[in-house]
Symmetry: C2
Subunit: 551 residues, 2 copies
């Protein structure tokens, strides 16, 4: 059962002109408020009703004027600032014109299918806040529709900026419909999975027709980005044979098998133009899949991976000719020292199209803790320029994540993304840290909790040892106890210093010089004693004191 | 209750000459074995008996020959390769001479008090494996002796290389005695805490006499390193006044208050030579405390922090004159982009003495998850040269860690440390990753679990969705289900490729060229159609299909 969120943090829709932009408004103990970026949609709505369709009038207007390429990039290149651009500009604290320019040059995307009117637009680009994607979806083995909608709501509650529905099981269409109608964030998919279901799982039977039918179906439902594994070419497959972990992308392995079985070029590559036709009609963005990403640190930055990146660079430019928005998927498993090269190459080869990476995991030895192993890599790769991070849950490599896993993965990645925002000195990013630290130093426990990523857990942890209500204002916690609280003593220090107006530095220097002089005299005295004693001193060796006899 | 460790991983004492060096021996499903670095001591011993005192004869020999400076650095500088150096050389896969040389030049330390004969020696230095320290200790508010010994055993079970006993409560001496007699790893302390207890918590009443008495007492018990906050000078206190979080080190705040109250220089600084006399008699290493470390990202890399570092550099050289081993404590809270400067300055100012950092946390907004926020910073700072990481638990800033917190903190930090070992390309570090990844690719689930940092959790997570014994050899997991398993498909790809010996690359290129030609022809045809149609195409807009009516 969901514990009610603390009342001190609530959704608020800022009405700015014709736009309603959601924020989480936190009320601090002095009555002041601060506003945080919010991914969670309107709450308290029956999933059968779906979210309000606030984008509908914007899209109707574009339809009415006879548009046939609905992509945000198309508008941006035509000099138009859309409602979606103004919306994200408010969320990010940037100017609408800057947003338009970044989209026009392909350096950022707003994934916003015109068939997803429930969407609260967001932007993915390295000059904006680092975003986090959460994967959900059922498999043959587990999960239900209800569970997937709940996972969606749960993921956005904890800060998912986009959600990928990776369902491969039954009721794939219906599951997606429920997810879309209840999602305030863009939904991404890998259409190949459903196409494979349609040919009963026989890879060899895949073909462009069933694929085109699938993307038309999914685009019509409102999916905002498709992972397309068009970069796995027939001739790149041999490059993976000697790897420790071969091909670890599902889509990549499927296309490699298809290519090899038919001895034909990847049909996603050869029919890329046909796919583009669908993308622009709905404004579905490409998420060009890294089908040959490394699945172990041993395979990082190898020939297969970088060969595919070159192909993705070529495809980026082809998509851009249609004004279709593009981002590029990245690894995977990469040791720390090989991370920067991934971003540098991607930015160069793909002409600064946004990078969207899965982790990367910086070691392979942490099954059960891969959210941590990958959050480390994620923070570093985002610092270097990755625009969106795909989260990894503690169940990675082991099983399908449940609700708790989704939350654990999300929070680890919000930490990584925010760490990168700080490192990139994103305007305003540090404000929340400063507010929280100030609350911490001043023993405003409830403010500290409310400003954290997970107020409930912070309060629970605090209360495990000091549950009394009075402890919420106590000037110590159970970690150090009252006598040893550095914050309390430090406040005493500040008071002492203030009581003398300023500490007289000259006096401090005097004290130091005096002490040093005394110390030197002491040493000189010791040296004399040592010499007088003949240069050998008896050093009493204390007997070890044992409370027990040990063998 | 502790679940028994899987039998496939067991302690084994390698007998090499006169030394017994512990390893964790993992038996894989093909019967082969691999040996991992092991911090956990001999198990199954009653805490009242304490661990075997294997170092005792080594120390007796040194006493018998009339040594009065027992420090490993003193031996190293005299050209002696001690048993401790040979021991760590085996553990690290380095030559004893290299170990001796690193210690002689102060670039590494072996914290090994001669009164701690139960110790299994380990080395801290940036040319060796990155180490992790776990803090335990009771406070006035909580905890008992039993709980602390159990925490010690628990911490070393999960890989703690050293343990700091930060007790501040009652029975401080007795708690420490129990910990030491049962510890296979070096124990560190902050003697100032006990000294403050001796003056009933009144900071102003502290003095060098009570401090000297305390360090003599603790050294005699066998503590291997002391955090000494000798770098907090009277004139540095004003530098902290305008900080967001003032002074957050307990020792730092105590000494700052003392200095300010008395308007005298820090007695740990003025009596540094007296302290040195004790250190060398027992071989206690200095861990020069960073009393002015930043407690928030806002305060990182500020004047107070770097002023203190300069003082620590001076003290390092003074300690080295006595051949006393030294490491330097570091922050704290530091955003990612300010981390490298911390290491670079420390290495320069402190002449490459090993750096020992607490995290750092890369953001302040994650109370309840600070083990993750800090593991990110820890991995990066270790990659840049930090030799030992002090772990942070999920309870940081909120309360005293319990058993589960100790484990969570330890594993997050083993990941960070290992990630840095990989990044530094420490010889042999990647072997475990490769073995695990190979097992993963080949569906040897039990081998994958056994090679991971937490075999039990990995198995539990796997079994939550596929508990049947058969699933332990199944060629899929619940994440993707059987049809979509990339590993399985990738193995098919390898078989396909192998069946043709090598994929004929010429043929692949031919297929690609043919496909490209066809695609180009198709595009040319489309372009013709488009032009013929007058340059405007009707794009049918599909009606959104809704499974529900939304407002």
């Amino acid at each position: 059962m969901r514990k009610p969120a603390p009342q001190r943090a609530q959704r608020n829709d800022l009405e700015i002109g014709d736009l309603k932009v959601p924020v989480t408004q936190v009320t601090l103990s002095d009555g002041s408020t601060t506003q945080l970026y919010r991914t969670e949609g309107p709450t308290g709505i029956d999933p059968r009703d779906g979210l309000p369709t606030r984008r509908a009038p914007w899209i109707e207007r574009r339809r009415a004027r006879g548009d046939h390429n609905f992509s945000q990039m198309h508008c941006a290149r035509n000099g138009e600032i859309t409602e979606e651009m103004r919306f994200v500009a408010i969320r990010e604290g940037m100017s609408p014109e800057f947003v338009r320019d970044e989209i026009a040059r392909g350096r950022a995307i707003i994934p916003a299918n015109i068939e997803h009117p429930e969407l609260e637009p967001m932007i993915i680009g390295r000059n904006f806040l680092v975003k986090v994607n959460a994967n959900i979806g059922n498999s043959k083995v587990l999960s239900s529709i209800d569970a997937e909608v709940e996972k969606l709501q749960w993921a956005v509650r904890w800060g998912a900026d986009t959600v990928m529905d990776l369902s491969t099981g039954d009721q794939i269409h219906e599951t997606r419909e429920w997810i879309l109608r209840n999602s305030p964030v863009p939904i991404g998919t890998v259409p190949l999975y459903q196409a494979l279901e349609k040919v009963r799982g026989v890879v060899e039977d895949l073909n462009i027709d069933v694929y085109m039918e699938t993307i038309e179906e999914q685009a019509k439902q409102g999916v905002s980005y498709f992972t397309v594994h068009a970069g796995v070419l027939l001739r790149s497959v041999p490059l993976t044979i000697d790897r420790v972990t071969g091909i670890v992308s599902r889509g990549g392995s499927i296309m490699a098998k298809w290519c090899l079985s038919h001895h034909k070029e990847n049909f996603l590559y050869t029919h890329f133009e046909d796919i583009c036709d669908v993308m622009k009609r709905y404004d579905v963005a490409f998420s060009l899949g890294d089908g040959l990403r490394p699945g172990s640190v041993a395979d990082a930055n190898d020939a297969a991976q970088f060969f595919e990146l070159e192909v993705l660079g070529e495809l980026t430019e082809r998509a851009w000719k249609h004004d279709i928005q593009v981002m590029i998927e990245g690894p995977g498993h990469v040791p720390l020292h090989k991370i920067p090269e991934n971003v540098e190459r991607q930015l160069e080869v793909c002409k600064e199209a946004p990078f969207y990476t899965l982790g990367p995991l910086v070691t392979d030895i942490a099954p059960g803790y891969d959210h941590i192993a990958s959050a480390i890599g994620a923070a570093m790769i985002a610092q270097h320029g990755t625009a969106m991070l795909c989260y990894v849950t503690p169940k990675e490599h082991l099983g399908l994540p449940d609700r708790d896993d989704v939350k654990e993965g999300m929070i680890a990645y919000k930490i990584a993304a925010h760490a990168a925002d700080l490192a990139k000195q994103h305007p305003g990013a540090q404000e929340r840290d400063d507010l929280l630290s100030k609350a911490r130093f001043e023993f405003r426990w409830r403010d500290q909790f409310a400003l954290g990523l997970d107020p409930e857990r912070a309060e629970d942890y605090h209360d495990q040892t000091l549950p009394a209500e009075g402890a919420k204002t106590a000037h110590f916690c159970s970690m150090c106890g009252p006598a040893f609280c550095a914050y309390r003593i430090s406040q005493d220090v500040n008071k002492l210093a203030a009581s003398e107006k300023l500490i007289p530095l000259g006096k401090a220097q005097q004290a130091h010089d005096q002490a040093t002089l005394e110390a030197e005299e002491g040493m000189a005295q010791k040296a004399r004693e040592f010499r007088d004693g003949g240069g050998e001193v008896y050093v009493p060796i204390a007997e070890p004191m044992r409370s027990n006899s040990s063998s």
